[in-house]
């Protein structure tokens, strides 16, 4: 028997990366801004998105959402109330969305064409670990953390926060009852992702939504 070493030097998630690269090209040519929203379960991705979709529609923008959960279409039904096209992706136990799931759900999404959209939001499965490895072809990855989760979330989950392009601190209306140390949270996010754009919002009061929507509009112009 002889032993031989074969150099491969290939990404383990090569298939996902290739599919995501294909999706990214499609998103660019359709001039649609695609955002991937990631956070723990219960941070308020759906609440932020409900308000965002509603506000964007009021401003005449065309937005749609794909929403990932292990089970149920509760989130899709909540979001659909905004009037925007919404499609649920059920992963049935898988802890993240991948490019293939996004691709399949886009292909078979009746009545929705990328070319007719300004924004596509992909709400990932609530999980602060696994989604960080899976590129979905998005242009902006948004990491959310709520004031109820504690200021050290970014330090506990650096892989995800470091991969984000923007961060949103949600539920700021609860900051005082939770004794949330805002300065510390901002510092922690910056330690993990120096210079990242950070928004502070409350889906309940609408606080911080103007800056967030302005950012979206600005980014969409460059799509």
């Amino acid at each position: 028997m002889t032993t031989r070493i074969v150099e491969l030097r290939q990404g383990i998630l090569k298939k996902n990366d290739e599919l995501a690269a294909g999706l990214r090209n499609r998103f660019i040519s359709a001039r649609v801004l695609v955002l991937n929203l990631v956070s723990s379960p219960g941070t308020g991705k759906t609440a932020l998105l409900e308000l965002t979709l509603r506000e964007l529609r009021t401003r005449g923008a065309r937005a749609a959402a794909l929403v990932g959960d292990l089970e149920t279409d509760n989130d899709a039904r909540r979001l659909a109330a905004s009037g925007a096209p919404v499609r649920q992706i059920n992963t049935h136990g898988i802890c993240h969305l991948d490019a293939e799931m996004v691709s399949k759900h886009l292909e078979s999404w009746e009545g929705v064409s990328l070319a007719e959209l300004d924004y596509l939001f992909i709400e990932n499965v609530g999980n602060l670990v696994c989604p960080s490895s899976y590129d979905l072809g998005e242009r902006i990855r948004v990491a959310l953390l709520s004031v109820t989760e504690g200021e050290d979330k970014p330090l506990k989950y650096p892989g995800l926060f470091n991969s984000a392009d923007a961060a949103v601190m949600t539920k700021i209306d609860l900051a005082v009852p939770c004794s949330f140390d805002r300065e510390l949270a901002l510092k922690n996010i910056n330690e993990i992702r120096p210079g990242i754009r950070i928004f502070e919002t409350s889906a309940k009061t609408g606080a911080g939504m103007d800056a967030w929507l302005e950012y979206l509009a600005d980014q969409a112009q460059h799509s």
Binding site: L8, R9, S132, S133, L155, L160, S163
Partner: protein, 133 residues
């Protein structure tokens, strides 16, 4: 939590690459995994056993080379390794450094395969001219 999907992806990629060497057995699969890749080594080893069980890769060892995070510091103009993953700052000047140069890798670097010795007739067929001389 996603280590089983990762193990399955490794099995798929290695099986495909090894098929170019008929009759060979894969002994070792060597990975490069960055500190930010969100992969737990023990969990991946456990899932690797599950994913390879009963397959031609059963018994192959998974060797994981862990890579530290390296950032580029604009102020110093150098690439510097950071300690841990809690603070993305240049280890020389202490300034924040967002430009990541290493740490997200999730790659199969190489496989070590064991091939049967080529038979003499096969050598003769491969080198017909030399044999005649």
């Amino acid at each position: 939590m996603h280590e089983l999907s990762i193990a399955a992806s490794i099995v798929e990629a290695v099986t495909e690459s090894a098929s170019a060497y008929p009759g060979a057995r894969v002994k070792v699969v060597r990975l490069r995994v960055g500190a930010l890749a969100s992969v737990v080594e023990d969990s991946l080893q456990f899932c690797w056993e599950l994913a390879t069980e009963g397959s031609p890769l059963a018994g192959a060892a998974l060797v994981i080379d862990k890579l530290p995070v390296i950032v580029h510091c604009d102020a110093c103009g150098v690439d510097a390794e950071i300690e841990g993953v809690q603070s993305f700052r240049c280890s020389r000047c202490g300034k924040p450094a967002a430009d990541l140069r290493q740490g997200r890798e999730l790659e199969i670097e190489a496989i070590e395969i064991e091939e049967p010795e080529p038979k003499e007739s096969a050598i003769a067929a491969a080198n017909p001219v030399e044999e005649r001389i």
